[in-house]
C-alpha cells in the first residue's frame, strides 16, 4: 500500500494562535480528546475557542455542561473573550445541561441523553465539561471500573461514528494518567499546567498524546488574554526549515577597520556576540551594524530591554544615524519588550513575527542581561534553551544576529559571557578596558569566527561622536588580555660575536 491509499485525516483549526503548529497542523477530525489540568488552567476557555472556531449552523457544536461550572456563570465569563461570537449561540453552538441526568440516573441514561442530542443535531464538535464530575459521580456510586470503561468506549465509538470531534474536560493531576480508562481510550490528551513562581504565573501546555499525527513534543508556554489562549510553540513557527542559508556574503558592520579584522565582515546568517563591560560601546557598535544595514537597503529589527525605542533612536541620532526616519518608512522596528512576567517564548515569538513581517536581514538584541531581567523568574530557567532555538531558527533563514552582553571586567581572565552562551555564537567580538600609562583605554579583539580566519590583533579603539573607530594594533605590551599589560622587553637583537 502506498501513501496515496492511506486515509486522509482532515485537521481542524483550533482558533488558538500557535496551537495548530504544536499539534502538527491542527486537531485530527473525529478524534476523541481529553483536555486536562488543574482548576483555573484555561481548559474551558480552550474548549470554547475550539468550538467558536469550528461550529457552523450545519455542523454545530454541542456543549454539555455537567456538575462543574454552571452554564449561567460560564457563559457570563466566557462572553468577555473576543472570540465569543454571540451570533453563534443557539444556532451554531448549543449548550445542554446534563446535571440532573448525572445526579439522578446511571451511565446508561447519560449516554442515552448525549446520543439523543447528537443524533438530533448532527454536531461537528462535542464537548463535555466537566467529564471528571461524571466519573466521580459514577465512582462514588460504586460502579466497577469495567462499567466506566465500557461507557467511555461506547461514548467514543458513538461520537466518532457520528463524525464528531469530541473534547472531554477534566480536572486531573498528572499521577492519574496511568491506568485511567479515559486516557487509554482518548486519541488526544492535552494537558494545561499553571504554577506560581514568586510573583508570576507560568502557564504551559503539553500534547501528551495525539494519535495519527506528529505533534511538537515538550512543554509550550501559553498565555490567556482578552483574546483567549495564545500558545507559543517551541519551534517558533519555523518548522520545516532545516537547510541553512546558502548566502555566502559578508555584512559590513559599518566600521571599516572592524570589517577588515573580520576578514571582510560578518558572514550572512551568523550569530555574533559582542561582549564587554559597561561603557565599552557595545550598543554603539550594534547601532552602527544596524545603520549600515539600513544604508544598504536591508530591513532591521532592534530588540531593546534597557531603554525605550525613542531613547534608542535619539542616541542613534546623536551618532548621525536616522533611526526615526527608518522607523517611519518601515525599514526598522525597535521593539521594547519589557512587560512583567514575560515568557521567553513570547518574547522570541514577537521578535520572530517582526523579523518575518519586515523581511529583516539584521537583528540586534541589546542586551542579553536586559532580556533575562524582563522575564518572569519562572521562565529564566528556559532562557538559554529558548535563546538557542531562536538563534538557530533565525540564522537558518539568513538573518544575521548581533547580541550584546555585559561581562564583569576581570583582570585575571578574559570572560566572554556570564550566560555561558558563547557556544550559541558563530563569532565573538570582545571589548575590554586596559590600563596603559595611567589611562583606562579600550581594546577589541576577535575571539572566534566559525566561518574561518580572522585577525589575531588586539586593537585599540575609541568611542567617538560618530561611533566606534578602530585604531592601530597595540604593540610593545604583553598581557593586554588581562587588562593590566606590561611593557614587553624589546626583541633580542642579533647575537653579538663572542
Amino acid at each position: 500500500m502506498n501513501r496515496q491509499d492511506t486515509v486522509n485525516i482532515r485537521k481542524l483549526k483550533t482558533g488558538v494562535p500557535g496551537l495548530d503548529e504544536i499539534l502538527g497542523g491542527g486537531l485530527p477530525e473525529f478524534s476523541f480528546n481529553i483536555i486536562a489540568g488543574a482548576p483555573g488552567g484555561g481548559k474551558t476557555t480552550l474548549a470554547h475557542q475550539i468550538v467558536f472556531a469550528n461550529a457552523t449552523p450545519e455542523r454545530p457544536a454541542l456543549f454539555f455542561t455537567v456538575l462543574g461550572e454552571p452554564a449561567l456563570k460560564m457563559l457570563r465569563y466566557q462572553q468577555q473573550f473576543e472570540f465569543f461570537d454571540q451570533a453563534k449561540l443557539n444556532t451554531a453552538i448549543r449548550f445542554i445541561n446534563l446535571s440532573s441526568v448525572v445526579l439522578e440516573q446511571d451511565l446508561g441514561a447519560v449516554l442515552a441523553a448525549i446520543v439523543k442530542e447528537v443524533e438530533a443535531t448532527n454536531p461537528g464538535i462535542v464537548v463535555v465539561d466537566s467529564f471528571r464530575t461524571v466519573v466521580r459521580k459514577v465512582q462514588s456510586a460504586g460502579a466497577a471500573d469495567t462499567e466506566l470503561q465500557g461507557f467511555i468506549q461506547r461514548l467514543a465509538l458513538h461520537l466518532t461514528s457520528w463524525q464528531a470531534t469530541t473534547f472531554l474536560i477534566g480536572e486531573y493531576v498528572e499521577a492519574e494518567v496511568r491506568d485511567n480508562p479515559v486516557f487509554t481510550v482518548a486519541d488526544g490528551l492535552f494537558w494545561l499546567f499553571q504554577h506560581v513562581e514568586r510573583n508570576s504565573i507560568v502557564r504551559k501546555m503539553q500534547v501528551m498524546k495525539l494519535r495519527g499525527q506528529a505533534s511538537v513534543p515538550g512543554l509550550h508556554t501559553f498565555r490567556i488574554t482578552e483574546a483567549g489562549l495564545q500558545a507559543f510553540p517551541r519551534t517558533f513557527g519555523l518548522t520545516g526549515r532545516d537547510e541553512r542559508t546558502t548566502d555566502d556574503r559578508r555584512l559590513s558592520t559599518g566600521i571599516p577597520d572592524l570589517d577588515v579584522m573580520l576578514n571582510g565582515g560578518i558572514p550572512v546568517g551568523d550569530s555574533v556576540l559582542v561582549a564587554g563591560p559597561s561603557g565599552t560601546g557595545k550598543s554603539v557598535l550594534a547601532t552602527q551594524f544596524i545603520s549600515e544595514g539600513l544604508r544598504q537597503g536591508e530591513s532591521a529589527i532592534v530588540a531593546v530591554f534597557e531603554e525605550r525605542p525613542q531613547e534608542y533612536a535619539t542616541r542613534a541620532s546623536s551618532l548621525g544615524m536616522d533611526f526615526e526616519g527608518a522607523q517611519k518608512d518601515g525599514s526598522l522596528s525597535i521593539l521594547y519588550l519589557r512587560p512583567l512576567d514575560l515568557s521567553v517564548d513570547e518574547t522570541v515569538r514577537e521578535i520572530i513575527d517582526e523579523v518575518k513581517a519586515k523581511g529583516a536581514k539584521r537583528l540586534v538584541i541589546d542586551s542579553l542581561a536586559g532580556f533575562e531581567m524582563a522575564l518572569a523568574p519562572g521562565f529564566r530557567t528556559d532562557f538559554r534553551e529558548s535563546l538557542y532555538r531562536m538563534i538557530g531558527a533565525l540564522t537558518r533563514i539568513g538573518v544575521t544576529i548581533l547580541t550584546t552582553v555585559e561581562v564583569e571586567e576581570s583582570f585575571t581572565e578574559l570572560l566572554y559571557s556570564t550566560y555561558s552562551i558563547s557556544f550559541l555564537s558563530d563569532d565573538i567580538i570582545r571589548l575590554r578596558y586596559v590600563e596603559i600609562d595611567g589611562q583606562l583605554r579600550k581594546v577589541l579583539m576577535i575571539v572566534k569566527m566559525r566561518g574561518g580566519d580572522h585577525s589575531k590583533d588586539i586593537r585599540e579603539y575609541e568611542v567617538t561622536p560618530v561611533g566606534l573607530q578602530v585604531r592601530d594594533r597595540l604593540r610593545g605590551y604583553r598581557g593586554l588580555v588581562t587588562g593590566v599589560p606590561e611593557i614587553a622587553p624589546p626583541p633580542p637583537g642579533p647575537a653579538e660575536p663572542v
Binding site: 452554564a71 449561567l72 445541561n97
Partner: protein, 144 residues
C-alpha cells in the same frame, strides 16, 4: 449588556398575552403567568439545568414582588414550576397580567445579564416564534 427595559417588557407582555389567549389543555396550569414561565422553562432548563432555572426564577420573583404585590403569594418549586396561584376562576384582569409581565421581564432581564441578549432572544423565540414578527421586539442584531 445594553438592556432596554421597554424591549424586554414588550417581549414579556407578548409571552403573557399569548399564554392568556391559549386554550386550556388538561393538566396544565391555566394561569397565564404560570404558562409563560413553563414555556420558558423548556429551553432554559436545557441550558442551565432545573436548579439553575429555579434559582433564576426565584430571584426574578423576589425582585418582581417589590413592584407587583399581586405576586406575593407565588413560590418557585425546586423543579422550576410556579405555585400559589388562586385556583378558580383564572384571573385575567389587566393588573394580574401586568404583574405576570413584570415577573417575566425580570426573568428575561436576569437571563440577559448572565448569558447575553443574543442568546436570550434566541431562546425566547424558540418557544415564542411570533416574537420574530412583533414590531415591539428587537431583532437578534439589535439590542434588547
Amino acid at each position: 449588556m445594553s438592556t432596554s427595559p421597554s424591549a424586554i417588557h414588550a417581549l414579556a407582555r407578548l409571552l403573557i398575552s399569548e399564554a392568556a389567549a391559549q386554550s386550556e389543555a388538561p393538566g396544565t396550569d391555566p394561569n397565564p403567568t404560570a404558562r409563560a414561565c413553563a414555556r420558558l422553562a423548556t429551553p432554559l432548563i436545557k441550558l442551565v439545568g432545573e436548579t439553575g432555572f429555579a434559582s433564576l426564577l426565584s430571584r426574578a420573583l423576589s425582585i418582581a414582588k417589590r413592584q407587583a404585590p399581586l405576586l406575593e403569594a407565588l413560590h418557585v418549586q425546586p423543579n422550576g414550576s410556579l405555585t400559589g396561584f388562586p385556583q378558580t376562576p383564572v384571573d385575567t384582569t389587566a393588573s394580574t397580567l401586568d404583574a405576570g409581565t413584570i415577573l417575566v421581564s425580570e426573568l428575561l432581564g436576569l437571563l440577559g445579564m448572565f448569558v447575553g441578549e443574543s442568546l436570550t432572544l434566541s431562546l425566547v423565540r424558540e418557544v415564542c416564534p411570533s416574537a420574530w414578527s412583533n414590531a415591539d421586539v428587537p431583532s437578534t442584531k439589535e439590542s434588547l
